[in-house]
Amino acid sequence: MTVRTQAGSQAADTEQADEVIEARSYLRDGHSLRSWLLTTDHKRIALLYLIAITGFFVVGAIAAALIRLDLLTPAPDLLSNEGYNRAFSIHGIVMVWFFLIPSIPSTLGNFLIPLMIGARDLAFPRLNLLSWYIYIVSGVIVLFVVIGGGVDTGWTFYTPLSSMYANGMVVATVAAVFVSGFSTILTGLNFIVTIHTLRAPGMTWGRLPLFVWSHYAVSIIFVLATPVLALTLILLAAERLFGIGVFDPALGGDPLLFQHLFWFYSHPAVYIMVLPAMGVISELVTAAARKRIFGYWFVALASLAIAVIGFMVWGHHMFVSGQSIYASAVFSFLSIAVAVPSAIKVYNWTATLYKADISIDAPLLFAMDFIGLFVAGGLTGLMLAMLAIDVHVHDTYFVVAHFHYIMVGGTVTAFFGALHFWWPKITGRMYNETLGRIAAVVILVGFNLTFFPQFLLGYEGMPRRYHVYPPEFQALNVISSTGAALLAVGYLMPAVYLLWSLRRGPRAGPNPWGATGLEWTTSSPPPTHNFTEQPVVEHGPYEYPLAHPASRGDA
């Protein structure tokens, strides 16, 4: 804060005003544990989610570290075969259901949607708290599984492996995933109703920030896809526990039915992970470019298009399962079609940056990481959507690398970008931005070092889920494991300087980035009821440049 060095009453006034803002903020509204654990304030619930999700990210990351350590050598030296199976299963299950799916919607979506549409809270505040508790119950079950030895089915629970042969706590794991589904269904329901009924006066559908549009699309998937997973898991649990089998081949049942039902949820789940990330990028790019988004409606409707088409592509996970070749051809075509709305978004972000007065802040660097990694993941996804190429690389590290580019390179990077962008709003404090920029670069380099070699490994034929491999694959595996270590450093850096900023960071002010959007018109951190008076919206979401006193001086 340069203001502090200037002697005089102005500095003292600013300081005093800051104190008042902080005293009225949602963070100071009660300090007891009860005021947090029984809160119905969407902002506090978002922070509860953030803490829980970070914990699961660590659990999943430890499992990933075990995998990468074991793969340093072609021999099975660190883990037994069974232990390795359990490590990658826990890694997948925890990362997918306990980190990636709730990551952006339950934390930032929860925090920002009411602020962005000018509402006091989500439509059903108590339901929101309930969904956090449901998440915690499911999380406790999954921790119990981890401590109790885990499962060896992989995150996909394919039958009849999971229903008849697998060792370990399959039913408990399935129960955890089942319960967590209710949490996401309720969150999705809450978002849909909130966006429909609680928009501030003047906040028309055409003035919604794109972050809100993408959360609207993802909520539809939450509500319509998750119950299908719930049913699939009920059928699986009934088969394993009571022998009431529907998939059982011994009875003439078809295990492929499980795969159809599972992927009917789990492919849309990929869009659950990436759509909120795309919403984040739309906000980050426009704020850094200080320009209106290029093609607002195209970006908004592309989210819905991805959500809708995403329901009809599940069969591309089953090209080698023996399903009808005609079905495969249709699924292949529809999978390629998803590239169209995805590409619209990427082109429109690029066009928004074109000839803009760009400020290279940490959030923008994370957004650039996202765009690059998402394009790489998306293009390899197109390769995988081609029938012939998929047969060649099916179940190899090529697939592993592809979906990590989308989920880790895409979603996790966007999650960090969002955290850097809205951290001043959430906490009222600014972090060390130079360190933020360095972290963005370290993550980009570490990520590519980890996962690019896996494309090569997969193309040369290294199958996924094996920890013993021919020695000629060792060099690439060593590079990949080294990259994972660098990536871990990149992920740890923000943990350090963001936490440090809580105590020592300079006060952020209401609008540190000079961004549009209602959330930047209220104080940082916002008061309990978000706005001191009901906001009235008079223009679109990205009306730059800002003619606002809080607008950045160099704008």
Binding site: L198, L231, H260
Partner: protein
């Protein structure tokens, strides 16, 4: 604002400024939830479709082991209960809370009757050795077992939803403020849920019981 104070109306809760908007939100929330429930059963119907496509003749033959009469009776019982639920909503909207409670009681009685008939049906099927509960089952074919497994899971999941619906209806009937609410927010939502339970049965009935007709 007059609409925040009148006692016979449902109370206004936090993020909302007007009762009309809150009512809209409550209704929309229930509809979205029902869409989610419909997808849950959608997975079951997909499984039934697949079984039937695998072996249409065996599916029809297995369907013949179910009691068509009990299934039909239950369909009539549930449809009637749904009609009573709709009448309860209308009565509440017209400011006749006692009639509304009577209709809700009728709905619940028929719902309980549905469960009783279903329970009787299950127990007689178990005695015939068609269900793998209580006594070991003995089937005439492997496919019959597959069909009965699906039948048990589908009707069991449906019965759970009937039970949940009964709890919801009871909540609506016992809260005084609820049935005196002329906007019928809670009664309306409970009735909506009950209609969904009914609609799912309307699809389960032909899928499971009437499939034999095609044989």
């Amino acid at each position: 604002m007059p609409d925040a104070t009148s006692p016979e109306l449902s109370p206004l809760h936090e993020p909302f400024h007007t009762r009309a908007r809150q009512r809209e939100a409550d209704r929309l929330g229930m509809l979205v939830f029902l869409a989610s429930e419909a997808m849950l059963f959608g997975g079951l119907f997909a499984a039934a479709l697949m079984l039937r496509l695998l072996d249409p003749a065996a599916y029809a033959a297995a369907s013949g082991r179910l009691s068509l009469w009990l299934g039909t009776l239950n369909t009539a019982v549930l449809l009637t209960s749904s009609a009573l639920a709709a009448l309860a909503v209308t009565a509440a909207r017209h400011g006749r809370p006692r009639a509304a409670v009577a209709m809700l009681a009728g709905t619940m009685a028929l719902g309980a009757l549905f469960l009783a008939i279903k329970g009787y049906e299950w127990s007689s099927e178990a005695r015939e050795g068609l269900l793998p509960v209580l006594a070991p089952a003995h089937f005439t074919s492997r496919f019959e077992q597959l069909f009965m497994n699906l039948y048990l899971l589908a009707t069991g999941l449906h019965a759970l939803h009937v039970t949940g619906g009964l709890v919801l209806l009871a909540t609506a009937a016992f809260k005084r403020r609820t049935h005196e609410d002329t906007e019928a927010v809670l009664i309306g939502n409970a009735a909506l849920y009950w209609h969904l339970v009914d609609v799912i049965w309307i699809f389960l009935y032909p899928t499971l019981y009437l499939a034999r007709v095609n044989a």
